[in-house]
């Protein structure tokens, strides 16, 4: 892996970045407006009203098409550095997303998120440990699946694998299962959300809890409502997601303790304490996000535009516009990392476990959101 700095990498990233930017400009300037005006089955805008396709989902679809159709299953070398920057773009977008909240709003939303996320993480881990053992899965595989299904999908699998001595093939099948499920739920959730008449808050809370992988949480939120403002689906879902991310070091610690407690022979075992895991695995962008919340609360960017308050300042409006573009660019890039060859071959016990637990979590999260909807308070 190259250890050259960002600015040295930038020229190599330009072709991929250019493709991403051009694609999103074409989608937003021509394709989306055309879809909004096209008359299909006698209805103007049918393509958007019924399919709920917007620039976010179209961007992901284009990313997937680039990789799997136009480039024959692999990103060409010349484009790969640009597509790698999608991770940085999304992190930047999430940091900027901090400008949607004041500390009061974060405390209000965060306390609801802690309750839901905490409960679901613990329940999902217990469920995976039980079902995984029942299905006769390898202990290390159960450990990886427990965190991947309970927290942040691929991110959690990556964080957990070394600590539970997961085999490469186990991790690979876990990731394929999580991604497959995540992509499916990313496309169907906006339909379900609109069909059930969910509010942005209910929808954000549901998908922030029920969708397995973070990239797909972001996409599903923006697919439901592409607006980036306080109280929209993305502003809620991402608070839920940040709660999930923060819980990664704790969940890695818990699952690692479980793994080693049942293992005979501890030779070569390298176990890390919770303090070390917190330092090593804590995602730095969360600090950036909180920094942005602090600056927003201090009024550094003017009024936020909360419900019932003064309208958002021009600076805040401009930042929100940037965010829509940054997320759009980033999600084209993430789409470019979805490989149909891998997803097609996912199977076996990991798929069974993933489907059982994933569907249960997805449905249960919706039921719980319905049950507590009177307690969910809009910001």
């Amino acid at each position: 892996m190259s250890d050259t700095g960002f600015f040295q990498k930038l020229p190599r990233a330009l072709p991929g970045l250019a493709l991403i930017v051009i694609t999103m400009v074409v989608i937003r300037q021509w394709i989306e407006p055309w879809m909004g005006n096209a008359v299909v089955f006698g209805t103007k805008g049918w393509l958007i009203k019924v399919t709920h396709l917007n620039y976010i989902l179209l961007g992901i679809i284009m990313g997937m098409l680039y990789r799997n159709v136009f480039f024959g299953g692999k990103m060409p070398e010349i484009l790969s550095d640009g597509f790698k920057l999608s991770r940085l773009m999304i992190k930047t977008g999430i940091i900027l997303l901090g400008s949607l909240y004041t500390f009061n709003a974060i405390v209000q939303l965060g306390s609801m998120a802690v309750f839901l996320i905490g409960g679901f993480v613990v329940l999902t881990i217990i469920m995976v440990l039980w079902f995984g053992t029942l299905l006769g899965l390898d202990r290390s595989m159960i450990g990886v699946m427990a965190n991947a299904l309970s927290i942040c999908g691929v991110t959690a699998a990556v964080a957990t694998s070394p600590g539970v001595e997961a085999k490469a093939s186990h991790v690979a099948y876990a990731i394929a299962t999580i991604l497959g499920f995540g992509i499916l739920t990313m496309f169907i959730s906006p339909f379900i959300g609109h069909a059930l008449g969910l509010t942005d808050l209910q929808y954000g809370a549901w998908i922030g809890t029920g969708i397995l992988n973070s990239g797909q949480v972001l996409a599903a939120a923006l697919a439901f409502n592409p607006n980036v403002a306080p109280g929209t689906a993305v502003s809620v879902a991402e608070i839920w997601n940040i709660m999930r991310v923060i819980s990664i070091p704790f969940a890695v610690f818990a699952v690692t303790v479980w793994y080693w407690s049942g293992k005979v022979g501890m030779e070569g075992a390298e176990r890390k304490g919770l303090g070390t895991l917190l330092v090593e695995k804590f995602p730095v962008f969360v600090i950036g996000f909180l920094g942005m919340v602090f600056l927003t609360s201090m009024g550094a960017f003017g009024d936020v535009g909360l419900k019932g308050g003064p309208p958002a300042s021009e600076t805040i409006k401009m930042m929100r516009l940037w965010m829509t573009w940054i997320f759009g660019f980033g999600l084209i890039g993430l789409g470019g990392y979805i490989d149909f060859k891998e997803l097609r071959q996912a199977g076996g016990a990991p798929l069974k476990l993933g489907l059982i637990v994933g569907v249960t979590k997805y449905v249960l999260a919706l039921v719980v959101v319905f049950l507590i909807k009177d307690y969910l308070v809009a910001i």
């Binding site: 690979a172 993430l334 979805i338 490989d339 097609r344």
Partner: protein, 150 residues
């Protein structure tokens, strides 16, 4: 048909044993040079590309961990190969890095490969799900003699 160079994919597991045994027998009978081949999968960074949240050090720790596991598998493959090649005059074991299917297709189609022998489940022990389709893709892309074992 006379074979001067036979290449066999070896991964240190049961998945490659039958193909390896056959390759060794054939190399002895035809006095051919035999190459055992293991491929360290270089596609993992791309495979976890959907993870945008992990800090760089966590990603790197994961990639190093997977690489180390694959090096151990390569060592197991080497031992598996060396345990059965007694009496073959020209034999060597090679470890390549990159996309396993691409490397296998390139090896199968090399002009100096007279016969490429592969077990269809090879490399699944340390690989990504797409390797399950390895036999099918090799059969579709090979332009030189290829022998696939179940």
């Amino acid at each position: 048909m006379e074979f001067k160079k036979i290449v066999v994919a070896v991964d240190g597991s049961d998945a490659s044993q039958e193909a390896l045994n056959y390759a060794v027998d054939l190399a002895r009978q035809s006095n051919a040079a035999l190459t055992g081949l293991f491929i360290i999968d270089g596609g993992w960074s791309d495979y976890i590309g959907n993870d945008w949240q992990s800090p760089q050090n966590v990603r790197q720790e994961f990639l190093d961990y997977i690489h180390k596991e694959q090096e151990q598998q390569a060592e197991a493959a080497r031992q598996q190969f060396e345990s059965v090649v007694d009496g073959i005059k020209y034999c060597k074991f090679t470890v390549l890095a990159g996309d396993p299917i691409e490397k296998l297709i390139k090896t199968a189609n090399a002009v100096d490969t007279d016969l490429f022998i592969v077990g269809q489940r090879v490399f699944q022990v340390s690989g990504r799900p797409s390797l399950r389709a390895l036999g099918k893709r090799l059969a579709a892309k090979a332009t030189r003699p290829l022998m696939l074992f179940p």
